[in-house]
């Protein structure tokens, strides 16, 4: 409490001094306002913009390698003209193919769905929804963005190296990633990858520590923990997971750098290349996998929790009902967070680790289905008997729930070590994780962008374009990833450059063409969203102060967005954020958090 007051005063002074300057506001230059800004709203927009650029790059890569998988026997001189170093005789090189899938995974998992998703919404929403003037440390917050940018520049530069970008898969398992003689991408490309990821982790930690301290210390008067919107709860736990797991990735990466450059043998032992024994002894490639997945698994919850939080909030607002089981939602996030730390080895059932461990990790892994099921049933119950407004945000939130169900259920297959003996690393896995974590998280992100766009830019996004975007993305995602279940059940391994070399895997030529065609359409469909985004920023309908009639605090702060978020005093909170349709006799079906409780409501024991 002490801290809150002090920080408040500090920021108040800051705001007041601005006030005294009055007309001098314009002295803030373009650079200080939009580039080196310390304002959380601007930093959020920076994360979003950079994330969208990365999504175009990462998505574009998938188009390129889908062209190879769809038409393995045809040549594409046009593509060779553009990407000359990756193509030979009109065909994508295997080395370039493996670089592309590696970079696609790295970019989508880390740069888009971790940094940009958390970075955008934690920044925009945490201070506004808890009633704070800014983050606990605006400077750390800005640094978080700049380290993200730096990591991205290094990662992007690696695409132009003569030996190619890293190509050992986004999981960079050694010895493949450690020995350049086994794969050209493991030369300088891998060095760039490793350095970029270290900076990336710095960015994540600066951001995460900041989000945690902001949520704990800077809530406004009356904003108890159990009055926080579920978005904040989700972003809070996401930050905790990140702070606890990302440092392990650094240790994992540093040991790999040692093995690559200093002749150590942490991950290497008994390696023979071309009949020559290499001087490594005593290490274990499996150690790397343990360290990698100790981050790598919590990472998927880092990706999905913010989406879950936003979807919970958006479904409540747009169905005009309280989220069903508010506390159950919080405890299920907590359950996922805790269990998420003790399931990492389910990626390693068949890695060569002791089979006994496989049984332990099966137990914990399938347990995680319980909090996930609770969340799904609670979302469904939230919609039940609601008065659902179908808007772009709610449409994408519903799409998220559909994707999460589809992908979550196949998790019960893969989490069971015995079934994993058949399905590990087949296309079934590709289908599973793209649906449950890739597409679902993107749907959460889109829902969030459509919902909070008026909060960020003071204008509404266009509905028609959003409908087109939804239809293309939702139908397209199922057309792309659903059939991959069948391809995987037919035994086809993932990360194959061509399916024609082994006859048992060659039967899905037509299906692969179809998937590739739909991939191109879905990729182009995302530009409908981008056009909508840019167009609405300047020409969209002006937003009203509270366009969705929501209860949370961000809609009480002036919609045009001011430094310090609220004129004068910070708002006081009197109730939880989900009083939708609480009073059946009233014409107004929402009661903002700032409205004091009536005498009657005080007697009512639930949810103050």
């Amino acid at each position: 409490m002490q801290t809150t007051t002090v920080t408040d005063q500090h920021v108040d002074e800051h705001v007041h001094s601005h006030g005294h300057e009055g007309g001098h506001h314009h002295t803030e230059t373009f650079i200080s306002k939009y580039i080196f800004s310390l304002d959380h709203k601007t930093i959020g927009k920076q994360f979003l913009t950079l994330g969208m650029l990365w999504a175009i790059v990462g998505g574009g890569m998938s188009v390129l390698f889908r062209v190879q998988l769809g038409w393995p026997d045809e040549t594409f001189p046009i593509l060779e003209r553009i990407f000359s170093s990756w193509f030979t005789d009109g065909k994508l090189n295997p080395e370039a193919y493996y670089s592309l899938i590696t970079m696609h995974g790295t970019i989508m998992v880390f740069f888009v769905l971790t940094a940009s998703l958390s970075g955008t919404f934690a920044n925009v929403l945490i201070p506004l929804q808890i009633g704070a003037r800014d983050m606990a440390s605006p400077l750390m917050n800005a640094l978080s963005f700049w380290f993200f940018l730096l990591a991205g520049v290094i990662m992007f530069a690696s695409l132009f190296l003569p030996t190619g970008a890293a190509s050992a898969g986004w999981t960079i398992y050694p010895p493949l990633s450690a020995l350049p003689q086994t794969s050209p991408g493991s030369g300088n490309g891998m060095t760039f990858w490793l350095i970029a990821m270290v900076f990336f982790v710095v960015s994540t930690l600066l951001g995460g520590l900041n989000y945690i301290s902001t949520v704990l210390n800077m809530r406004t008067k009356g904003m108890t923990m159990f009055r926080l919107p579920l978005t904040v709860w989700a972003l809070f736990f996401t930050a905790i997971i990140g702070v606890l797991s990302f440092p392990v990735l650094v240790s994992c990466v540093v040991l790999l750098i040692f093995d690559r450059g200093l002749g150590t043998s942490f991950y290497l032992s008994n390696i023979v290349i071309g009949g020559k024994a290499l001087p490594y002894a005593g290490g274990s490639p499996i150690l790397f996998q343990h360290l990698f997945w100790f981050l790598g698994h919590p990472e998927v919850y880092i990706i999905i929790l913010p989406a879950m939080g936003m979807v919970s909030e958006i479904l409540a607002v747009h169905s005009r009902k309280p989220i069903f089981g508010y506390k159950a939602m919080i405890f299920s996030i907590l359950g996922i967070t805790v269990l998420g730390f003790i399931v990492w080895a389910h990626h390693m059932y068949l890695s060569g680790m002791n089979p006994f461990l496989g049984s332990v990790f099966t137990l914990f892994t399938l347990l995680i289905a319980i909090p996930s099921a609770v969340k799904v049933f609670n979302w469904l119950t939230t919609l039940w008997r609601g008065n659902i407004r179908i808007t772009p945000p709610s449409m994408f939130a519903i799409g998220f729930v559909s994707m999460f169900i589809s992908g979550g259920l196949t998790g019960i297959w893969l989490g069971n070590s015995t079934i994993d003996i058949q399905l590990h690393d087949t296309y079934f896995v590709v289908a599973h994780f793209h649906i449950v974590m890739g597409i679902a998280a993107f749907f959460g992100m889109f829902a969030g962008i459509y919902h909070w766009f008026p909060r960020m830019f003071g204008r509404m996004m266009n509905d028609t374009m959003a409908y087109i975007h939804f239809a293309i993305t939702f139908i397209g995602s199922y057309l792309i990833f659903w059939p991959m279940h069948f391809i995987g059940l037919a035994g086809v391994p993932r990360r194959y450059y061509s399916f024609n070399e082994i006859e048992a895997f060659a039967q899905y030529g037509d299906l692969n063409k179809l998937i590739s065609v739909v991939t191109v359409i879905v990729f182009l469909g995302q530009f409908v969203f981008l056009v909508n985004f840019v167009w609405s920023m300047y020409r969209g309908r002006k937003a009203t102060q509270n366009p969705w009639q929501a209860n949370t605090l961000e809609w009480t702060s002036p919609i045009e967005g001011i430094h310090g978020n609220w004129e004068g005093d910070l708002p006081t909170v009197h109730r939880w954020p989900y009083d939708y349709s609480r009073n059946p006799d009233s014409d107004v079906d929402f009661i903002p958090q700032t409205v004091p409780l009536t005498e009657e409501e005080k007697k009512d024991k639930i949810h103050h």
């Binding site: 398992y173 060569g352 319980i370 169900i405 019960i412 059939p483 039967q507």
Partner: protein, 346 residues
């Protein structure tokens, strides 16, 4: 030219979309609040129609693609895995249909109407307990059966098992069979050289009757045990038709045993494919040739297996020390040099 035309078409398409969309914005700003409510309703029909279309698509494709999946499991262990997989399919399939149906049904049924009031329903402990406990019970069964089979599959191989060593390297599998003594000769990393990349210790007499095979031949209904390893990077020994796999890790020996139950000939009849063959493929990214690392597997009757086995030539006597066998002189020279190297290495 084609690129420019293509891009131009795309840009025009986006412009058309923006123009149409602008109209919808205009209409929206002219509408009164009541009429806006109607547009929320249209969205509901749109969304749930898409949802149901996708639900139907997902079920129909199951039916369409089922015949293209793997034929019946060709090993005892594969049958256990397949049974558990089918049970899981049934359970998750039912949950999938019910939840997706409810989701898109609610979207339509409870879509916005001006005269509708949402039902304030914030909590219900009974419901929460129900959908915590029911999945927990169902999952307990899946975990129980799963772990039981898991331990059976990774139990020690029976003593009578045929002993085979497979070693992955970029981009091939080296297959070594234990000879008549049913023991594989020891390997020593310090003995590795270009002529002996496995580092087989020829001083170990059990190595002398071992042989290298071009394809993996297995007797039906007999346990076969694989010592799996790799020379350079991680590979994965994937036997899709037997439903089994195991990583091949440099420096970390792994094991897999199973009992094949269907011969190649039987499977040819079963699949009505005269060219059918069992394969091993690599299932862990191992470099640019990862997609082409195949080995043929043949499952044969006991008699055929014994015949094949008796025809194999010991690697030691045919290549390493042909003087003790009946190979040519050139091989002999090479081997003598190698034996000397081995001594030096020692």
């Amino acid at each position: 030219m084609a690129i420019i035309l293509g891009l131009l078409t795309l840009v025009l398409l986006y412009i058309v979309i923006v123009q149409i969309s602008k109209a919808s914005d205009l209409i929206k700003s002219l509408r009164s609040g009541d009429e806006q409510g109607e547009s929320f309703g249209n969205g509901a029909l749109f969304t749930s129609a898409i949802g149901f279309a996708v639900l139907i698509y997902s079920l129909v494709t199951c039916y369409v693609y089922a015949p293209t999946l793997l034929p019946k499991p060709a090993s005892e262990q594969g049958v256990w895995i397949n049974d558990l997989l089918n049970a899981t399919l049934l359970l998750t399939g039912v949950v999938f249909v019910i939840t997706q149906f409810l989701l898109f049904w609610f979207v339509y049924k409870y879509h916005y109407r001006k005269d509708r009031k949402a039902y304030f329903f914030a909590d219900n402990n009974k419901l929460e307990v129900a959908w915590t406990v029911v999945p927990a019970i169902v999952l307990t069964f899946l975990i129980g059966f799963g772990i039981q089979k898991w331990f059976k599959i990774f139990s020690p191989a029976p003593k009578e098992a045929v002993l085979i060593e497979v070693t992955g390297k970029q981009y091939a599998w080296v297959v070594r069979y234990a000879g008549a003594d049913r023991a594989l000769g020891k390997r020593d990393f310090s003995l590795v050289n270009p002529d002996n990349e496995l580092g087989i210790n020829w001083n170990d007499a059990t190595s002398h009757d071992d042989f290298l095979a071009d394809e993996i031949v297995l007797p039906v209904n007999k346990p076969v045990s694989f010592n799996v390893g790799a020379l350079d990077v991680i590979h994965n020994f994937w036997l899709p038709h037997f439903r089994l796999m195991m990583s091949a890790v440099p420096g970390v020996p792994t094991h897999l045993w199973f009992r094949p139950t269907v011969t190649t000939e039987e499977m040819k009849r079963e699949t009505k494919n005269p060219n059918f063959e069992y394969v091993v493929a690599c299932n862990k990214l191992c470099g640019s040739g990862h997609y082409n690392m195949k080995k043929t597997v043949k499952v044969v009757t006991q008699e055929e297996y014994e015949k094949w086995f008796s025809e194999q030539k010991s690697y030691y006597y045919s290549v390493v020390k042909p003087s003790e066998g009946n190979a040519s002189d050139t091989a002999k020279v090479k081997v003598v040099a190698m034996a000397d190297k081995d001594k030096v290495a020692k």
